[in-house]
């Protein structure tokens, strides 16, 4: 029985964001899903529980989010693509093992459907409060990639992209969605399968005795899976190129530098963003996720009022797309950062901007209406 035939058919669909994410994962080749129930990400797990077994793939509901991300790492070590999905409280629980994924260089995808507020917050309402946690949540130095969708289509596309990037760089990749993008129904165009780029981690196939699991010859070492006969060792302890624990300062430098540089050196290839009306903009709104939808409407209305306003919608949040923001700031008088939090993405914007930066912040669990963002724009102009 062919699994290919059971994937979501190419063509136009009308679909919920969370379900588009799950279908994208299936197309990307996800073989293992482990998760724990949490609002507002549940539709992903529910859909996967039905769909994965239809394709002979594995779905398991674990006892908590810690077990979920750890099991995902275990499956990845066995050589398969694996993912989990959660929301704020579960995301917090996963942090330690996101660091393990980075350290062992086990590719995986974590979807965080953000909800409102700190702690339990408002589980059924929207938020964008996990921007910094997604980047800095686990201890120690490491880098990862965070994508943020604002439409059902982007949720689908960026989920496939997340698998590709995680396999390419052997890192954890986070899809930072939110409650509204997760639950909204929208148009989804699924390309023909041969038009969808799928990346699989590069595997080592040379002589067994020459294999170095953490070779620093390249930024991304070649992978072997459990059971391949290489008898490798992987440890969360700082390790040398053989994968053995090491207290040598050179080994520590070599490892940590490589973990960081494999993302930093590829940053420009990882940046995804879209711009609107930047050519003559005095004021530029930088935004992402569901807030970008509201901002786009606000910017169009501002243009109708004759205000010279543009916007940058970031699809990659981390590594932060420095160049487009920096260039915009060289022509604009002011940059505004619109987000459903008290000011998180504004920090990297400030770091690179050459003009004054202010936030349009909306702390409660709703999408800021266009009027709210328009007020912020008018005040800035």
């Amino acid at each position: 029985m062919s699994g290919e035939l059971k994937l979501l058919k190419p063509g136009i669909h009308f679909m919920m964001g969370n379900i588009a994410c799950a279908e994208a994962a299936l197309i990307a080749g996800c073989e293992f899903y482990a998760g724990y129930p949490i609002t507002p990400s549940n539709e992903i797990a529910e859909h996967m529980s039905r769909r994965m077994p239809q394709l002979g793939r594995h779905f398991i509901q674990m006892e908590d989010e810690i077990a979920s991300i750890v099991a995902v790492c275990g499956a990845s070590a066995a050589g398969v693509k694996a993912m989990t999905a959660t929301s704020g409280p579960g995301f917090s629980l996963m942090m330690e093992t996101i660091g393990l994924s980075a350290m062992l260089e086990l590719p995986c995808v974590i979807v965080d459907v953000q909800r409102a507020g700190p702690s339990t917050g408002i589980p059924t309402f929207v938020g964008q409060g996990d921007v910094m946690q997604a980047r800095w949540g686990s201890h120690g130095d490491y880098e990862l990639v965070v994508y943020s969708p604002s439409t059902v289509q982007e949720f689908f596309d960026l989920t496939i992209e997340a698998f590709n990037t995680s396999e390419w760089l052997r890192i954890p990749v986070i899809v930072l969605s939110d409650e509204v993008v997760g639950h909204m129904y929208g148009r989804l165009q699924v390309p023909e399968y041969d038009k969808i780029k799928i990346i699989n981690r590069k595997r080592y196939s040379g002589p067994r005795e020459e294999y170095l699991p953490y070779s620093s010859e390249t930024l991304v070492p070649l992978f072997v899976a459990a059971g391949d006969g290489f008898r490798i060792h992987m440890t969360g302890l700082t390790h040398d190129e053989r994968g053995y624990p090491s207290l040598e300062i050179e080994d520590s430098h070599k490892l940590v530098e490589r973990l960081v540089m494999k993302v930093r050196k590829n940053a420009k290839n990882l940046w995804k963003y879209e711009t609107l009306y930047l050519d003559d903009a005095d004021v530029v709104v930088v935004t992402f996720g569901i807030t970008a939808r509201s901002t786009e409407e606000a910017v169009r209305r501002a243009r109708n009022e004759g205000l010279k306003v543009g916007m940058i919608k970031l699809l990659t949040l981390w590594p932060f797309p420095e160049d487009p923001v920096k260039v915009a700031s060289q022509y604009a008088r002011r940059i505004l950062v619109a987000e459903i939090n008290m000011g998180q993405l504004i920090h990297p914007v400030r770091e690179v901007a050459e003009c004054p930066v202010a936030g349009i912040n909306y702390p409660v669990g709703y999408v800021p209406p266009p009027e709210y963002i328009l007020d912020g724009i008018r005040a800035a102009v």
Partner: protein
């Protein structure tokens, strides 16, 4: 050449399981009198005796003294986050049922910080082996009490005696439906190796609690300062009773109260893998 050097070379030359040990990683980190070397020996013996190809064996361990065992075995070996090796092993085993995945880790790792994963993995009956080395204490990190420290035992965080009841692990595992449950000490080398061999054959979650001396850590707080003090304790107090009432096998370490050992449970229980195949059938993937 000194006596010591001659002895070292002799040991290395005669090491019978070099193919399964990462000799380049020795000397190991374990203290004099520790039982972990025996656990390692029994494990590699069980692997060598198993009919499973060596490349299909995988070991996963967590953090702590016992957690270091994965680094000394020449197998695919994974040393993961504290308390989480069972969840890691589950993910691995589920996608690769052909692998023989064994978790070897300590009491603090597997049933204290990782207790939730332990109980759920037993309940699911994922086909992995869990060899839990119980030394009654957090050794590596400085001799703090844990969920297996006997009531009244002293440690760096129970200077007045541990005020909590410890786990009775064979009872816990059996109550959750484990198909194989055993307990041995590192003094019972042959029985331990045999139990491990059996565990590698058992379909489903195979659990062995291994009571292991910790003279430098637990012992220094509880008048068991030498390895031989533990051996004496084991010799004098251990009773082998395969059909023991598991309600009564909790360990107190009080004088005159026995440490009961045995292969307590060996039964057939449908495994997670078998039940998942049923899901695949219902979903239409398998006929």
């Amino acid at each position: 050449m000194s006596q010591k050097q001659i002895l070292k070379e002799k040991i290395v030359e005669e090491s019978p399981r070099d193919d399964l040990i990462r000799r380049e990683r020795f000397p190991h980190i374990w203290c004099p009198g520790c039982g972990l070397g025996t656990v390692l020996k029994c494990y590699v013996e069980a692997i060598a005796a198993s009919n499973i190809p060596i490349d299909k064996h995988v070991i996963v361990s967590g953090i702590g003294c016992t957690g270091r065992i994965a680094g000394y075995v020449r197998l695919d070996s994974y040393h993961v986050t504290h308390g989480r090796p069972i969840a890691f092993a589950e993910g691995m085993k589920i996608v690769r049922p052909d692998l023989e995945v064994t978790v070897i880790s300590g009491d603090g790792d597997l049933v204290t910080i990782g207790g939730n994963h332990f109980i759920h993995a037993v309940r699911r009956n994922v086909d992995i082996n869990v060899f839990l080395v119980n030394n009654f204490i957090y050794g590596m990190t400085g001799n703090q009490m844990g969920s297996t420290t006997p009531l009244g035992a002293k440690s760096s965080t129970s200077p007045y005696g541990c005020p909590e009841f410890p786990f009775n692990l064979p009872l816990l595992a059996a109550a959750l439906g484990a198909p194989f449950v055993a307990r041995w000490t590192t003094l019972h080398v042959r029985q331990l190796a045999d139990a491990m061999k059996r565990a590698l054959q058992v379909k489903g979650f195979a659990f062995i609690e291994i009571i292991s001396p910790c003279p430098v850590g637990f012992g220094s707080y509880n008048d068991l300062r030498e390895g031989r003090d533990f051996i004496k304790l084991f010799l004098e107090n251990c009773i082998v009773d395969h059909s023991a009432d598991l309600n009564k096998v909790g360990i107190t370490l009080r004088p005159g109260e026995p440490i009961i050992l045995g292969n307590f449970v060996d039964r057939e229980v449908p495994t997670y893998h078998e039940l998942e195949l049923e899901v695949f059938r219902k979903a239409g993937w398998l006929k």
